[in-house]
Symmetry: C2
Subunit: 153 residues, 2 copies
């Protein structure tokens, strides 16, 4: 026969996250969400979500790039890019021009207004990044980027 008292119902004071914190994926996801949150806050003034910004930035630095190239580079499904491109064109930040050698494709370009807009947007994005990673030294920040690249390249 058992004379032991039943185990008292346990309660948790501080949640132990040590196992999850041993996983790169958990830490990368948490860090990503923090930076994305800062992005939403600081880039709302430009009316740009992270995906819009990435697309515009790639067009800025790759005049004549095609939708297909953007999709491949950014891992975006083509149907999901259509709306973005349409809106950016409606905002007169980009123009579509026929591709010189492929009649199916369109080359994407920034308008002069788009260039001016993106110059400022990239400055703001870089600033917000530095603020969100303020606890990292410049050397640590550089190394963090190198380590992350080793995962997805």
């Amino acid at each position: 026969m058992s004379t032991r008292k039943p185990a008292p119902e346990p309660t948790v004071e501080q949640v132990d996250t040590s196992y999850l914190e041993s996983l790169v994926g958990y830490n990368a996801r948490r860090a990503t969400l923090v930076i994305m949150d800062a992005f939403f806050t600081n880039m709302a003034a430009y009316g740009l979500r992270p995906a819009d910004f990435s697309v515009l930035s790639l067009i800025a630095h790759n005049s004549g790039v095609t939708s297909r190239q953007l999709c491949t580079t950014l891992n975006i499904q083509p149907p999901n890019l259509v709306g973005m491109i349409n809106q950016l064109e409606k905002r007169e930040l980009i123009t579509r021009r026929p591709h010189p050698s492929d009649g199916r494709a369109m080359g994407l370009h920034l308008t002069p207004a788009g260039h001016k807009f993106m110059k400022q947007a990239e400055l703001t994005a870089s600033d917000l990044e530095r603020a969100a990673t303020a606890r990292l030294s410049p050397a640590e920040r550089k190394q963090l980027i190198q380590l992350l690249r080793k995962i997805y390249i």
Copy 2:
């Protein structure tokens, strides 16, 4: 009058991503997606998505934890946790028991089957992590985690 030829329509051979790659957020997001993809593939056998796994793991290491504590720790909105908890209970991996000192709350616990299940699931998750970050040395992996923690803690 202008006698210059119009600028030839530019095409892009290789997309230049150097600006985006200077941003921690871009790199963190890309790396996160790669690891999450490996997670989906390898953990599908357990019927666990990343959020389910995080929840189960926290319950495993914090017997008696409440839904509210999980939400705060994992940045999940309470309504979005309800369905997860219900399914995990239906699968008989967890049980809900009244909280000993707060009549509103329920303490969450793993069943014996849940413990056995999670022991294996955590091993698989750790393995998949090592595979997804195979290009990092153990020291680099450890440092990457430390750097990421500095962003979200």
